[in-house]
Subunit: 167 residues, 3 copies
């Protein structure tokens, strides 16, 4: 192993972290900037598939309503360089979603706005090093499980800043 490999792993991790921050803060420009132009997605074993950085950001925006407050985490990266400019990566993921409104076009049917989803799985990604740095060129995940519940919630406080630091 070399310093160059450690740096590549670090830089690939950084773009993954920015991507996830974009998703949970619903910053779709940040999400788009993390993908190579011709990137493709196959989220949820291929149920949410599209091609193109702009299209992936658009797909996520369409299904992640403003009424949804989400926490997506990724960790335990197993990244392998397949050439000086390409890599693959497996990551554990977990997601928590609070639904706070009815959303008739949601992928989850019959929401009444009090539900909470907790899921887990593995991302299987590909990465491409461009002149501007490493980008995600392919992303998708296969779940371990996904559970939807209406727990006995006393309150769900959400913050419109969605984790952003105040100016």
């Amino acid at each position: 192993m070399s310093l160059e490999e450690l740096i590549a792993f670090h830089e690939i991790s950084q773009v993954k972290y920015r991507y996830l921050r974009g998703v949970d803060s619903q910053d779709w420009e940040l999400v788009e900037s993390c993908f190579s132009a011709s990137a493709s997605s196959w989220y949820d074993s291929g149920k949410l598939a599209t091609t193109g950085a702009k299209e992936i950001a658009g797909l996520l925006k369409r299904y992640m309503f403003n009424s949804m407050y989400t926490s997506h985490i990724a960790l335990q990266p197993e990244i392998k360089l397949t050439s000086p400019t390409t890599a693959t990566g497996i990551w554990r993921m977990q997601d928590i979603v609070h639904f706070t409104a009815k959303e008739p076009t949601s992928l989850v049917p019959d929401l009444d706005g009090s539900e909470q989803l907790v899921g887990a799985g593995y991302y299987h990604d590909e990465y491409l090093k461009e002149p501007g740095g490493w980008k995600i060129s392919k992303t998708g995940y296969v779940r371990l499980f996904e559970a939807l519940a209406r727990p006995n919630v006393l309150y769900v406080h959400v913050t419109p800043e969605r984790g952003r630091k105040p100016a």
Copy 2:
């Protein structure tokens, strides 16, 4: 990127991990040792703000009762060196708290001791390299959400060791 930067990122992460271990194991001396003497906190968008390493540890101790069993995780660090001895860091956080007793002075009102809190957000930290190593010089977080529930719990087993290895 250089080896020196990778080492700085590693060392900054180590102090963050020690800090979090201090919080969940309620080892307030360990917590205090992670901060520079004049560090400041602005937890929960500034609701829990104070200045001074000793004062931050004291603030946490005041609100994290012995009857609370907590799990705070931080991951996905986006650390930037702003000089050879200063840095900023954004981290995803998630916290789970089990309340096991009424606590009239709790920040959460009307606790009956059966509640569970699950939250998520982003830390926005600053770090300072001192002769003794990197310290946290400023810490705070903005939540994505915070949910309090009384789920249908069959049991909550807690361990007085709070994760510490037996001697």
Copy 3:
């Protein structure tokens, strides 16, 4: 700190991640391959103790039924080299378990198959560098808490692939 140390931390982390992927995907050969031949376990403060790579994988297989869908995460590693070929590591862990069937021989009594377990704690590991790379030579954890609940679940979808990428 040296490049060699950073590489060792990276390689030790990689074996931990493969181990956890083996556990959640119930790939017991992968689990076994992560341990040195004479490794020992003392899971759950010693309640699940055995010696030998094959025996540890067998122990986990015995109690992690096919009807259980699990998510084990480990993060915040505090790894220390104790010699060029030995190391210790503390990791935060969290686990989510969905039980989907009665299992009379389960460690959790009186399961009806609708339960969910959420726990947290710290792993205290030891590692050994062999000719084939770093292996786990000792592993165990002490919990912060473990909660069993029957939340008001609308559905639990599980995937038989358990996170594996489709061929």
